[in-house]
């Protein structure tokens, strides 16, 4: 704006003089002005261009992940009537604790019963249910049916019987997940024109899947398997995030109860109490450096100190939580110090003037005013810790865990590590989408945390 006005003024004054000797200069100036304005435009355009490129990159990243991942929340599944055939499930009544029987004895009997139940051929129930739906089905093709249903469903049926044996002899309408390969085939995630040798399913199964899908026996429905199940290697279609989610949850609890109080306390000391001297200078430089240390270094620290010296269990959320806490600490300290610094000194002077002690001033007057900023900084720190992968790999969290951890000392994975594990699965056609879905879950959690932080900042922010 400014320089344009200047330029027009300059032009008008030279134009007004109108002398012949100056017209040469004028021509030069006009020419150079033209060039300079063009340069200005180009420079501005390049700036705008790079902003737009950056924005486009954000957009591409999100569109890419979401377009891949969202379909994975829907999985193809059978809807079928399962007859819990007493002829197949030949098993004694579920034992009950007799009066006078010790618990150990009862437990032995119960376990024997459960073992016996494990031998029951639950696949038979499913093949019996599917076979009548198929056109010109031959008995010799029975084994192909089980290629359509994910193997975890047999365990699901067994668990149903184990919980309530009275369903034997009844018919129930159940929704059973198809196997990962059928899901890939029906969703078109594999090239349908590939020759037989390169398809993962035999031709007959592919035809059946298409037929059942057209008939509506197989439907593409929203599936909770991704959220409710732990990871699985044998039954890929029912592999889920539950174990990783609980692992991450424990770690975040540890971060919240360790890193935040300690970080806030450290920041209060450094900002409000510490004398300005060499030692506090060293602490300050040290904290700023710690915030920029690569996260993998914290993993090395965890492996050497927590696992090798303290003999804490490997792959346990408690170790992960400790490592992530140390990593988050500087972030919390820096954010808290910034907020404390923003509280005006007049508040402190007022409190001190009225006779409050230093501690009372800080805890009764300064800290309450700084809480919004502290909360925001802490939530951002937790969100960062939630997405961290590298240090967790070094403390053994990349091992496969097929159960949901019950305590923070059990083996577990974490959400970002689960993403890492899934992206390396051999069945790329299926797991590319599932990994993207896991990423969506992780991003959603992080966005929620960030959203809460922004909302808190907007709602509680005090401008001095």
């Amino acid at each position: 704006m400014n320089q344009q006005k200047n330029a027009t003024q300059a032009e008008s004054t030279t134009g007004a003089s109108g002398m012949a000797a100056q017209s040469d200069v004028q021509a030069k100036v006009t020419a150079s002005l033209k060039r300079r304005r063009r340069k200005e435009k180009i420079f501005r355009g390049v700036g705008l261009g790079s902003v737009l490129i950056s924005l486009t990159l954000v957009l591409i990243l999100f569109i890419n992940i979401f377009s891949k991942g969202v379909p994975a929340f829907w999985q193809t599944s059978f809807e079928m009537d399962i007859y819990f055939d007493p002829a197949v499930i030949t098993i004694a009544d579920k034992p009950e604790q007799q009066p006078g029987e010790t618990f150990a004895d009862f437990d032995d009997r119960l376990q024997a019963w459960e073992t016996e139940l494990g031998f029951v051929n639950f696949n038979r129930l499913m093949t019996d249910a599917v076979a009548p739906l198929l056109p010109d089905f031959e008995r010799s093709q029975t084994r192909f049916i089980m290629q359509m249903i994910t193997s975890g469903e047999a365990h699901a049926l067994r668990n149903m019987v184990m919980e309530d044996p009275s369903i034997i002899g009844e018919t129930k309408t159940l929704r059973l997940l198809t196997s990962a390969n059928v899901d890939v085939w029906l969703k078109g995630n594999i090239d349908r024109d590939l020759p037989d040798s390169r398809q993962q399913l035999p031709a007959v199964v592919r035809d059946w899947a298409d037929y059942l899908y057209a008939e509506g026996h197989i439907q593409n429905r929203f599936s909770t398997a991704l959220f409710m199940n732990p990871d699985s290697r044998s039954s890929l279609a029912s592999a889920g995030l539950a174990g990783a989610f609980i692992g991450s949850f424990y770690m975040m609890l540890i971060v919240i109860f360790l890193a935040i109080p300690m970080g806030v306390a450290a920041a209060i000391y450094l900002e409000e109490f510490a004398p300005k001297n060499k030692i506090t200078d060293v602490i300050e430089v040290n904290i700023n450096n710690l915030a920029a240390v690569p996260s993998i270094i914290f993993g090395l620290l965890g492996a050497a100190v927590f696992i090798n010296w303290f003999n804490l269990p490997m792959s346990a959320p408690v170790v992960g939580g400790l490592v992530l806490s140390l990593m988050t600490l500087p972030t919390v300290i820096i954010a808290t110090r910034a907020t404390l610094r923003a509280v005006p000194p007049s508040i402190r002077s007022g409190a001190l003037g009225l006779g409050a002690s230093k501690t009372q001033t800080v805890f009764h007057h300064v800290l309450p005013l700084a809480i919004p900023g502290i909360l925001t900084g802490s939530i951002l720190g937790v969100a960062q810790a939630l997405g961290e992968t590298a240090p967790l790999l070094l403390i053994g969290m990349k091992s496969f865990v097929a159960s949901i951890p019950e305590t923070p000392f059990d083996q577990s994975t974490a959400l970002p590590v689960q993403i890492y594990l899934w992206q390396g699965n051999e069945l790329r056609n299926f797991f590319e989408a599932r990994t993207s879905a896991a990423i969506i879950v992780l991003l959603m959690l992080m966005m929620t945390l960030n959203g809460i932080a922004i909302w808190l900042r907007k709602k509680l922010e005090v401008r001095w």
Binding site: L55, I283, G299, L300
Partner: protein
């Protein structure tokens, strides 16, 4: 579980002691009030309560901590002394395995199998010692509680400076918290230096720092067949990826910052800035997946059209995606620094007839240059230490090459590869991870310190 129970009891004692101290002090206060002598009360009742609660439980907690630290060691020593001669002579893992088995037998975790006589005896002894130690702990802790409660309760009187005492405790807690950050740094340095020295007892530092081949082999029992641990291929790979990242990020980040700080209308700025900063908040594993699944194949097919041989997982792929990741680091820091350049400099230049872009290029940028170079150094340290993107997208092939289209390996990738699963921390194959970590730590430390100094000096210059 039993420790948790003790902690719960101690917490209950804490509230009780607080109430006791407060009650006694309140009574004294109301007596003084009746005598119209309120001045004589130094601290308020809740200060007294807090002090009593502190003395009643803090020593007990300290004892509990010490006990849980030392008792397992003590119990093990006693049990070992009790073992038959030839077993007590064993060392290391074998002894640990025996001790674990004894503790399992003692806790009835082992069923079936035939137990040796000495095992049963040891388990019995273990159980006894454990019980004694537990009883001792309970006695000690309750003694500490009783003594602390009694002494501090007796001390409650109007003259006691309970508030000052409590404030000292609070200050001690604050100081302790701020030393954790220092301890972390010391822990990082000590643990890595220790393991690195152990590594150098296997491989000479010269071979490590100047070796040009990276081929660690697998750790073998006895360690007869040692691999080659040359750092250079990894270092070059790291620098290659980081350079590609900076080549992508510096122009985009800097130009975005300039546009947003100098040209953009406020509305556009306030919308675009947070969106670009989203890029900084996305977990790196997501970038890694994006690089592996989308960017890599895209670059490879681009290479095909231009007749270049670009691998899908290469230094280029990892670098480009890492560049996207560091755009916001450069743009936000540069943005801060550009807005800190005093307005007078700009006005002077504009007043002399320079166009806006000339002002930016010839006046604002030179003035901001130190700060911006600090920002770039910080971004470089990020790029050098980044792990997940390179683990997934750099191809993991530790060969000495300067061709960004080839697959490379970096220090961070190698740390992850070497320290995986059951590491026993005794073979050079896993110890090398610490030597790499120390190298990486030193590099990033130097980058960070220089960057922070530059940025700080820049701030002081224009404050």
């Amino acid at each position: 579980m039993s420790n948790l129970f003790v902690i719960a009891v101690l917490l209950a004692v804490m509230t009780l002691a607080y109430q006791l101290g407060m009650a006694k002090s309140s009574k004294q206060a109301s007596r003084l009030a009746r005598e119209k002598n309120t001045q004589a009360m130094h601290s308020r009742p809740h200060h007294h309560g807090a002090l009593v609660a502190f003395w009643a439980t803090a020593p007990a907690f300290a004892l509990l901590l010490l006990w849980s630290w030392f008792s397992p060691w003590l119990v093990n020593q006693l049990v070992i002394a009790q073992l038959p001669e030839h077993l007590a002579q064993l060392s290391g893992n074998e002894l640990n395995a025996i001790l674990r088995r004894i503790s399992n037998i003692a806790n009835d975790f082992v069923s079936g199998g035939v137990l040796a006589d000495w095992e049963i005896a040891a388990a019995q002894y273990y159980r006894e010692v454990e019980q004694i130690s537990r009883a001792l702990m309970v006695a000690l802790v309750s003694g500490a509680v009783a003594l602390g409660l009694f002494l501090s309760y007796r001390r409650v009187n109007p003259q006691l400076r309970a508030r000052n005492a409590m404030e000292k405790v609070i200050k001690a807690v604050l100081i302790a918290s701020s030393t954790v950050a220092i301890l972390t740094t010391i822990g990082i340095v000590l643990s890595m230096v220790g393991e690195t020295l152990r590594f150098f007892s296997f491989v000479s530092p010269m071979d490590f720092f100047f070796g040009t081949t990276w081929n660690p082999r697998f750790s073998t029992v006895g360690g007869g067949d040692q691999g080659e641990f040359g750092l250079l291929p990894l270092l070059v790979g790291t620098l290659l990826v980081a350079s590609v990242a900076l080549i992508v990020a510096i122009p985009l980040g800097l130009l975005s910052a300039i546009y947003l700080a100098e040209y953009a209308p406020p509305k556009f700025r306030s919308a675009a800035k947070p969106i670009i900063e989203i890029l900084a908040g996305i977990p790196t594993i997501v970038y890694g997946f994006f690089a592996l699944v989308t960017v890599g194949p895209f670059l490879a097919s681009m290479g095909d059209t231009f007749g270049l041989d670009i691998r899908a997982t290469s230094a280029l792929t990892a670098g480009v995606v890492m560049g996207i990741m560091i755009i916001p680091f450069i743009s936000s820091l540069s943005d801060d620094i550009l807005t800190q350049v005093p307005k007078a400099l700009r006005d002077g230049s504009l007043g002399l007839g320079a166009t806006k872009s000339e002002t930016i290029r010839k006046v604002v940028l030179p003035a901001a240059l130190p700060g911006i170079s600090g920002a770039v150094l910080l971004a470089a340290s990020r790029a050098v230490g980044e792990t997940m993107i390179v683990v997934l997208a750099a191809g993991n092939s530790p060969v000495l090459t300067a061709n960004p289209f080839e697959a490379v390996s970096t220090m961070t990738v190698t740390i992850v590869n070497q320290l995986t699963g059951d590491n026993d921390f005794s073979s050079p194959q896993s110890l090398v991870a610490f030597a790499l970590g120390l190298t990486l730590f030193s590099i990033t430390l130097v980058l960070n310190i220089v960057a922070l100094l530059i940025v700080r000096r820049f701030r002081e210059q224009y404050d």
